[in-house]
Structures are given as C-alpha cells and as structure tokens.
Assembly symmetry: C2
Homo-oligomer: 505 residues x 2
C-alpha cells in the first residue's frame, strides 16, 4: 500500500489484502473485456482465466497468512477509531474472510467459469430468442449457487446467502417487506394512470441517427463530470459500469437507431461510475474501494438517470441542445411534450426501458422468480412459462418471445443471482438521499438547469462515495439520512410527479 502506518503488522496485512484486491480488479477487467472487446473465439479461454483468477483470489483472502495477521491485529484494531481506514479494512476483511473460509476457492472459481460460459452463450441465445439454448447454462449457475448456499449454516431463507453478496446485511424477509409496501403503493398508482388519457409520445418513433446520439451524450457526460483521462465509454450488449481503479472507470451503452434509450442508460451508468470514481484515494488499493452495496450503487445510477435525467430542470437546459442535435425530429416538439413523453407510464416488456412506476414490478417479478428457482419450486425448464404468466399478472402484457421476456437481462447468465432486488432498493434509497440533498442544496434545481453538477457531485462524494465499503448499507443510510430504508419518499415522489403529468387527484 502507498502509505505506511506505524504498525508493521498492519502494513503487512494491508499489503496482502492489496494483492487480493488487485486480483479482484483483474477479474472485473476480464469481465469488462469479455463484454466489450473480446472476439467470440476468446470465450472458452476467458472462462478458464476468470475461474483461475477467482480461485487464486479467494485462496489469497482465506490464506493462513492473512488469518494470522488478523489475529495479531486485534489489539491494534481496538485502539483505532471505528471510522478510520485501518479499522474499516480490518473489520471488512475479517468479515469477508470468515464468509469465504466456508467456501472452497475452487467452487468460487467454478462459479466464475460457469458464469462466463453462460454469458458468452447468452449473447447469441438472446439474438435468436432461444431460451432452450440457455437452459443447461442457467441450470448450472443455479446448481452452483445451491452448492454455495450449502457451505453456510442454514439461514431463514437460502436466498439470504445470495442476497448477501449484493446487499450485505439485508435479509430476504426484509426486502420482501419493503417490496410489499412498494406493491401496495405502485399497483393502485399504475391502475389510476391507466384510467387517464395517455401521454402522446408518437414523436419518439425511429430513426435516431447514432452519431448524433453519441455527440449529445458526449456533451452531456462531459458536463456531468466524465473525463477521458479517467473514464471510457464503449458499446456493449447489455450496458454496465465497471471500475478497474477509481481513476479507470469504464461505462458502456448500447445505441439503437430505434430510440433514444442510450441517453438515459448513459446517465445511469455514469451514476455507477461516479460512485467508484469518488471513493477516497486512500482506499484505492483496498477492498473498501467499492460501493457499500448494490442497492446504494443503484441509488446513484437511478438518481442520475431519473431524478436528474428525467426532471424538468435538466431538460430546460439540455432540451434545446437535443433539439439542435435532432432538428427534424424535435424542432417542432415543445419541452413540455418531451418531458411528458420521457415520463410516460405504460406497462411494457423490457425492464431497462420501462418507466419509473412499472419498473419496480419488473424487479419484483425477478426477485420472486429467482427465489422460486433457487428453492426448486420452479424448474429452469418452467421458468419461461412462469415469467410470461407473471408478466401478464403484474403488468398485463403478453410476452411475444424470449428476447423480450426471460432472456432480456444478462444477470442470471452472468451469475448475478440475488442482484435484481437492489435496483428497486436503489430507487427507494435514491429518494431518501434526494430529500436530504434538497434540504442541504436549496438551489439544486437552479444548478441542474445551469448544467452545474459540481455541488451535487461534491455532496455525494462527501456523504456517500468517499466511504466506499467502510459502512454497510443500513449503517450508511442511518448516518446520511438518519433512518432505515423507507419506501415512503419514493412513493410520494412518484405520486407527485406522475400525478401532475396524468392529472391525478
């Protein structure tokens, strides 16, 4: 590590943990490359490479050497401030090591291998809308996660162990409670909106020349804070953000001639990227240089995408630029019509293109279904029927094919089982943070309208980003907003925003 402390044992410990972290980041670079650059022929070797890096990484973390150092550090740890970098790294490593001591490194490697293989297959299977092709791969991914779960003492739900990888410290039951509140608020709202005259978004129809999209996005991201000395933007099949280090942030998008979704997707991935970019430099080569949880991470992406990017102040500034970019398409469309169109609520097939209200129903579907698959209540073979039936039940839409159904997301292929819930948790948290931000930055709307994002970025850095994974999500939320997770602000926000657009009482 860069900065030596006065404790040699700690420095030796931090040096070993830094190597674990180097390998972890190498894993993510391999993953980024697989999803953006790798020719298809690289798939088999990449799966092996990911497996080996994962195996070696967890061998390192669970080594006797780190174990001994952690024991030696007990007194030192007691002497430190809880918030200090050193105490936080010891605390985090101890917990993570206890967890992974239970899991054979080879199983972790095998999970990485199977996920990489499945992800390679998913690209083509999705293109061909061929779920049958994915069945053996998805079976393998779920099977390996059952093996993983079996490494631990039984929890209330098996799924708790998967959720813990993405939202550490939160249980399935806790998420289910939050989601029940969400359903109770959202379903009536969606139903009320369905009774109202629909927003006209016919002017959003194809085509949207891709070079022009890129030009607008580049200017927008530059204003947000994207800098080419520390960031990249590339094309991919299913957009994601990755960080190889806090000053090597890689976001991705998918441009299509048919729509402008990439603009919002770019905002979303920028939100993720900014979180990792603004972690304290002192934590850069430690496992703390990462978001507190995926839920907190999604609060950042959804904040930039929706609270900034689907707001009136933002488009007051950027819509004239967008009109100049697409004069033929938008020259005659008023700002207000644009604002209403990009906030239109309409049950639809694709999660990442769905509106803010129905989005969460897509998540709840996945959250429920992946538990049922893990528990064996639904087989992979039957998962497609279950998906389609539930789309009908929750959103009233008929799924025409797998590409627009169960194959649309890469998560289950990529082994991210237990991840989906964090998107809706992120939505909820984004509003809890936003209320606090509004209180502390009274002229936030004016700043957004002036395309000045520095104060917002700085607030996020100071209150959320710089801590990395020092604190778990519950603890972080308590520190920043003084409460636990609460869907109230989010549901209020949606009702107010959409109520105005749709003229609800």
């Amino acid at each position: 590590v860069a900065v030596a402390t006065e404790n040699e044992t700690y420095d030796a410990f931090a040096g070993r943990v830094a190597e674990f972290w180097d390998l972890f980041k190498v894993y993510w670079l391999l993953d980024w490359d697989q999803r953006t650059m790798m020719p298809p022929g690289g798939a088999a070797a990449r799966a092996d490479q990911l497996a080996t890096v994962t195996t070696v990484m967890y061998e390192r973390l669970t080594s006797a050497e780190i174990g001994d150092l952690l024991e030696e550090l007990r007194d030192y740890e007691e002497s430190l401030d809880y918030d200090s970098d050193e105490a936080s790294l010891i605390r985090f490593t101890r917990r993570e090591r206890e967890k992974f001591k239970r899991v054979p490194p080879e199983l972790c490697g095998e999970m990485a291998r199977a996920s990489s293989q499945a992800l390679s297959e998913w690209d083509g299977a999705k293109d061909d809308s061929d779920f049958a092709r994915m069945v053996p791969y998805l079976k393998r991914n779920f099977e390996l996660r059952r093996e993983y779960v079996a490494c631990f003492e039984p929890a209330e739900n098996d799924y708790d162990h998967l959720l813990d990888e993405f939202e550490p410290g939160m249980t399935t039951a806790e998420v289910a409670t939050v989601f029940d509140q969400m359903k109770a608020g959202l379903l009536p709202l969606i139903a009320e909106i369905a009774e109202r005259p629909q927003v006209d978004d016919s002017f959003l129809s194809s085509p949207w020349p891709i070079d022009a999209q890129k030009e607008f996005e580049a200017k927008m991201l530059e204003r947000f804070g994207f800098r080419p000395d520390s960031w990249r933007m590339d094309e991919t099949g299913h957009p994601f953000a990755s960080s190889v280090s806090p000053t090597d942030i890689r976001i991705t998008t998918k441009h299509r001639l048919e729509d402008l979704h990439s603009i919002f997707s770019s905002m979303h991935e920028f939100g993720h990227g900014l979180y990792e970019h603004q972690v304290s430099p002192a934590l850069a080569r430690t496992p703390l240089a990462r978001g507190a949880s995926l839920g907190i991470h999604e609060s950042q992406s959804r904040m930039w995408e929706n609270l900034v990017g689907r707001s009136r102040p933002f488009w007051r500034r950027f819509y004239p630029e967008l009109q100049q970019t697409f004069p033929d398409k938008l020259g005659g469309v008023e700002l207000e019509a644009w604002y209403r169109a990009i906030n239109k609520v309409q049950p639809s097939l694709i999660r990442i293109e769905s509106d803010e209200a129905t989005y969460n129903m897509h998540i709840i579907l996945r959250f429920e279904l992946e538990q049922e698959i893990l528990d064996g209540e639904v087989s992979i073979e039957d998962a497609r029927e279950a998906w389609n039936a539930r789309m009908k039940e929750y959103l009233g839409v008929a799924v025409p094919d797998d590409a627009h159904g169960i194959l649309q997301d890469m998560h289950w292929s990529a082994g991210h089982i237990g991840y989906f819930a964090t998107y809706s948790l992120g939505n909820i948290v984004s509003l809890q943070l936003w209320e606090r931000i509004r209180a502390e930055i009274p002229d936030l709307d004016e700043q957004i309208e002036a395309a000045e994002f520095g104060v917002l970025r700085e607030w996020l850095r100071e209150n959320v980003h710089r801590h990395g994974r020092k604190f778990r999500s519950k603890e972080l939320l308590q520190r920043v907003v003084g409460s636990s997770i609460d869907s109230g602000p989010y549901l209020n926000y949606l009702r107010a925003k959409l109520g105005e657009i749709y003229g609800l009482s």
Copy 2:
C-alpha cells in the same frame, strides 16, 4: 485441461500448469489493455495488478505441488514419445520451473510493476521527446534485471540470462557471431547502394487519409486470414501483437496521415498473430501455446511484412486495389515505381520504418548498447549520447531529437531488455524457411499473386506453428530446414533483390 489422459498424476499436473498459463494470458490481456484501451488514470493500479498477477503466477509455477508432481511423473515421462504433447509439457515445465525457482516471485512481480510504470511514462516522454523523464524508469528496469541476473550461476555473459527469456538456448556469443556475419555482408551492400542513383519515392509524401488506409488493410488482412470471430485490430502507440488464446488474437497498428507505414506494420503483426492462432488446439491451455522463441516469432512477422508484403507478386495483385483506394495519389504511378519505392534503401532514423538492409544495423546498435548498459559500461544518463554517436557511425544519420532516437521504441521501457536481437534473427530465419517453402510450394508466387494464402498458411501451420513451444528454436530449425541459423540465405536474398533494384553488379 480439456482432454484427460490415462495418467491421473499427469492430469493433476496439467491442471496446475493450466492455471499458471491462465495467469500468464491474463498478464498479456492486462498489457494489451494498458497499450490500447486503458485511460491514463489507470496506470498506477495497472502496475500493481501486473505485479500481483506475475507474483502469483510464479508462485504457482514454483509451488511444491508442481514440483512433487514433476518428480512423480519421471517414469511416465520416460515412457512417452519425445514429441508428444505430454512429454513436451513436462519437459518445458521442468526447465521453466528450474529457472524460476531461482528467482523470488516478488522480484518477478516488481519487474512487471516497474515495466508497466515505465511504459505508462514512455508514451508522454516520447511525445515530448524528453529522455530525461525516462532516465529513472529505465534505470529501475536495468537495475531489476541485474538483480534477476544475480539469481543465476554466472554465465559467459550476464546478458545471456536476459537473452534466454526471448531466445531460449541461444547465447550472447552465438548472436554476436551471427551479427558479425551480418555486418560483413550488409555494410558493403549499403555502401554500394549509396553510390547508385537513388530510387524516386517522392509520390509517397503526405497525406494518406486514414479511413482509406483502414479500408485497404481490412481487405488485405481478410485475404491473409484475419477473421473477426478470433481476431481484433486496434490502434496503439507502438504496434504489437498479443494473444489471449489461440482463438483470441489481438493485433495493433498506428495510422498516420503522413505515410502508409501502417500497411506494412499490419502485415508484420498479422504474421505474429497467425503463429499464435495456428498453435495446435490441444496445446491451447498450456504454456506450449506460444512461439518457440521471439526469433522464430519475428521470422513469421518479417516474412509476411517483407517476403510477402514487399514482393512483386503481392503487389501485382494488390497494387490496383491500392490505386483505387488512393486514385489521386497513385493513379498515375506505375507498379514498378511503387515496388521500387517501398524497397528503397536509405539510412534513416526510425527502426520500424527502415528498409530491409539498414533495419539490421538498427538492431545491432540496440543489441550492443543494451549489453553495455547492463554491464555498466554505459550509464543510462550517457545512453542517449552513445545512441546518437552510433547512429552516426553505423548509418551516417544525425539524430535530431529523442523521439527519433533513443525514445522511439517501447522495449526498454516495457522491460523487454534482450529482445531486439530477435528481430534480426527473425529476418535470417525467415529466409531459411522461405527457401524451404519455395522448394515445397513451387507456384508460391502465383498463389500470392492470386491472393491465395491458404497453402502458405497451411505449410507454416504444419511445419512451425502447430508445435508452439514444444521445441526450442535451434531444434525447430534443425527439424524444418535441417541446419542451424545461417545468415547466408538472407544476405543472398537482399543482394539479389536490392541488386536488381539498384543495378548492382
């Protein structure tokens, strides 16, 4: 490994060695990414990542586990054919392990870290033509190599140990003998040419629109055998080829408006890529999936660049296409004028742009100078003066600045000290192979003129590529051409080709 044998000990051994190889390939992907994709901000973390991957990789190779398995395998090894995949992997691993058991894995890691840091610095230092900036980095690289050399029993020359990384089994003295023959043949040839009327290449002056260059190269490489399912082509500062697996080949080039050098550079890197692409699939996840030596590797790149790419048959077919690509520039230039221009001999500053005759003098300069630096006869601080003086002595040219002098190549920054000689060895070997190829493919010229490269590729696969590193370069050469390295065919080729162009007796 994919295919299990009947020997469980061997399979366990091959599995462990496969992990070493996975890490080795990960190293090369990290390196590729640093040189093509990584934002500058990623440099510090990348150096750490390369160091850790290198350390872990050599820990794996030198582990007691692989040592014990190798001991257990002695009887099995005896029972195998020397040429078999299994015997070759055991033989290779034994040798490599014996070598690296002497070197602390942390030193290997530190060499990787320092090289990555130096390479990051080199980009900007070269742009600014600022050698002073590189001095501390180059010192560090040479210093670490002295530490590396000190791990071994003294050899005739310290430099032998560095050369062995690139040209295993060949000594400094052997290379020096070959190079003395080269000098004896080349210096009079260059002098004779200097007496003759110079070839007119004034039509090669700038500008050459880059999109058009790319279009021509893409068609050319497609005919050579570049396939996007297994290959990539990207821009970089100093072109190189890399393979992440035999079906994930990454070549790079550098396009400039000023000249067409990228066309020849692309041919060169294609030659490297094809070698790695055509290694036997059965060797893919073993350390044998690599060129026998850098000298043999360069024989492949120089063959495609010069023996194919600077030949009349090739341009009889491709020159009309090139004329169509650049009608304003080349529409009025005859094929013969083009052929003479691209084979013009003129002492110049930049190695990779130099002609076939003077090229080797650039190499000999570097080969001599890096030995002198390693041995402490020339300090890094004085290396620039030494470089410039020798450029004057060997080629009669005055170096105007460091970018056109000692900073032009990335090798010393990238830690490739001991590499340069292999370019000229490659030139020599390329002709030894070419004579054999001509004997076995009598209509080679007709095939090249028909843009049919399949038979040539297949010959190279069968005789050279598929073996990977099963045999050392001397052994491979003996098998394929029945002799040891011999500069005769290369010097004869140059005299015949250039003699015709310049009207020498």
